[in-house]
Assembly symmetry: C2
């Protein structure tokens, strides 16, 4: 058995899995970011005990614990080098958690962990795999030959910060025109807000009046009801996602590319036009094509991936 | 000893290397593309014998032959699946060359081979390496853990066909806004031609009148002489190259990134602003930075890389 910990800005989610990554139990506590890492690890430890006992086991059965954390991670040493939204710097989290349990603890960047989770859910016989998550930002994870690709310094796979439009919208990273600025939920909300202003008779206006806010679902739901402005907004957004995925396919030609994050729950409405756009235009006219899919694990990808990447580290 | 063959649209260049990739001899013949692959392989065979005897050896000393070819290559089977500029389809070149010599023959895409050549020239202790060549197009090669990364179908590493400007200039590949359309010599010539039209008093006009044509050197040479319009053109071009490299760094965070192709001979004039732009903006504020360099082998990279990738295949 393994434990996976998905440390987020809002929640600490912990799960216990069997040796194949099947989730047996899970539990969570609020992160309350801004606390010192020792306080957070204390909560992680109590969640580890809870999920283990919920899975009718005890800590002696746990072979390794994996932690997925946002930010820049030194995975060799189990340290959060820097995580802005956790207000954390140089936090030796793995070492701290080892104070509670005599079990190997490994750390991974959260997007890499989620990617590895989705990868294990696709089976282990895939030579190249890319995961793109459409959330507040756009995250990425790359698995090559059953190894998480991190770059030489651990900071790689930042697919959301490929340029999609040179001199385009300014990104939180400081540069302009990042894929993330056109393909995140944040971007979809921006496009939706603009469309609402320009189309005051759109169904989207009523949608927002009823709920009090614009969300990533506004355009998709109103488009499904046939609203013209919503259809245009949705299609414009999907086109941006597809453009970025096309770049990724031309560079990686991965065997499988999985789209995750909240918006991926739209399923075929999102997937079909992306596949059509990408597979018609990719720089590969004669060889088999990348299999583009929607994520399977969704919110559990981080937990399962943290657990399974710990297993991988243990056995290599 | 190994033999490397760099099959281009214009020339077949063949070289003999020692076991460490040191080039001992080289020779070439015109490709005369449009000929059947058997004719081309016949010339390859005579060049193999020539370079081997020029290196004071005979074919019995050759451990393997590598062929780098443009187009889509099935490297498992040594077949050119499709190469537009060679007007070649489903050509089983490796098998054909084996008719001449009882030596293992391996095939590789030409950009991958050149990347592997530059990689070996950087030493073998680099975990991740990206090569970008600025020529008629923009080619790429990716080496991860001493393996050429090709994607699952062999068609990967098409870095020139990442989108740099969504809905931008139409590319020969059919999509729009590819990195290649802004960073190739072709792009630089286009920018130079436009600048000449808009600045009839620029030194570039005189440069072109003397030589009868615009080249990739026009803007760089006139900029070195202080011509304002040339400086703007050169800097605009370098900025486009840097933008694409920044995307590559954010995705790969490679230990070394090498810039090759004709324009890379500009050296520091090209390299310094690229490094400054990329290393200030990349999504990595706390970890060591990618080492961005100019190519070492230039035109020999294809030969050396084909030879050394054959060595790699032989030993794996």
């Amino acid at each position: 058995m393994y434990i996976g910990i998905d440390l987020g800005g809002t929640n600490i989610a912990v799960g216990c899995t069997d040796d194949n990554g099947k989730l047996l139990s899970k539990a969570s506590l609020p992160t309350i970011s801004g606390r010192g890492y020792k306080e957070i690890v204390k909560d992680m430890a109590s969640l580890c005990e809870k999920v283990t006992s919920d899975a009718s086991a005890d800590m002696s059965k746990i072979k390794a614990i994996g932690i997925g954390s946002p930010g820049t991670i030194d995975s060799d040493n189990g340290v959060v080098v820097y995580a802005g939204n956790l207000r954390m710097e140089k936090a030796p989290m793995a070492r701290e958690l080892r104070k509670y349990f005599d079990v190997p603890v490994f750390m991974e960047n959260d997007a890499n962990a989620a990617a590895y989770g989705e990868y294990t859910a696709c089976g282990h016989d895939v030579s190249s795999f890319v995961f793109i998550t459409l959330g507040t930002g756009v995250g990425g994870g790359i698995i090559i030959d059953n190894k998480i690709y991190r770059g030489f310094n651990g900071a790689g796979a930042e697919i959301g910060h490929m340029t999609l439009r040179m001199n385009g919208i300014r990104c939180t990273c400081g540069k302009r025109g990042c894929f993330e600025r056109y393909a995140s939920v944040t971007a979809l909300r921006r496009m939706t807000e603009r469309a609402i202003k320009e189309n005051p008779s759109s169904k989207m206006c009523e949608w927002v009046r009823q709920r009090g806010h614009v969300s990533g679902r506004t355009a998709f739901e109103c488009a499904a009801e046939g609203d013209e402005a919503a259809i245009r907004t949705r299609d414009k957004y999907i086109r941006c996602v597809a453009e970025g995925i096309l770049s990724v396919v031309n560079v990686f030609q991965p065997e499988i590319l999985v789209i995750g994050g909240g918006i991926s729950k739209e399923g075929d409405v999102l997937l079909k036009p992306i596949k059509e756009f990408v597979l018609k235009r990719d720089f590969n006219k004669f060889m088999p094509k990348t299999d583009i899919r929607i994520a399977k694990l969704f919110n559990d990808a981080g937990i399962v991936g943290a657990a399974m990447s710990a297993k991988l580290r243990l056995t290599k």
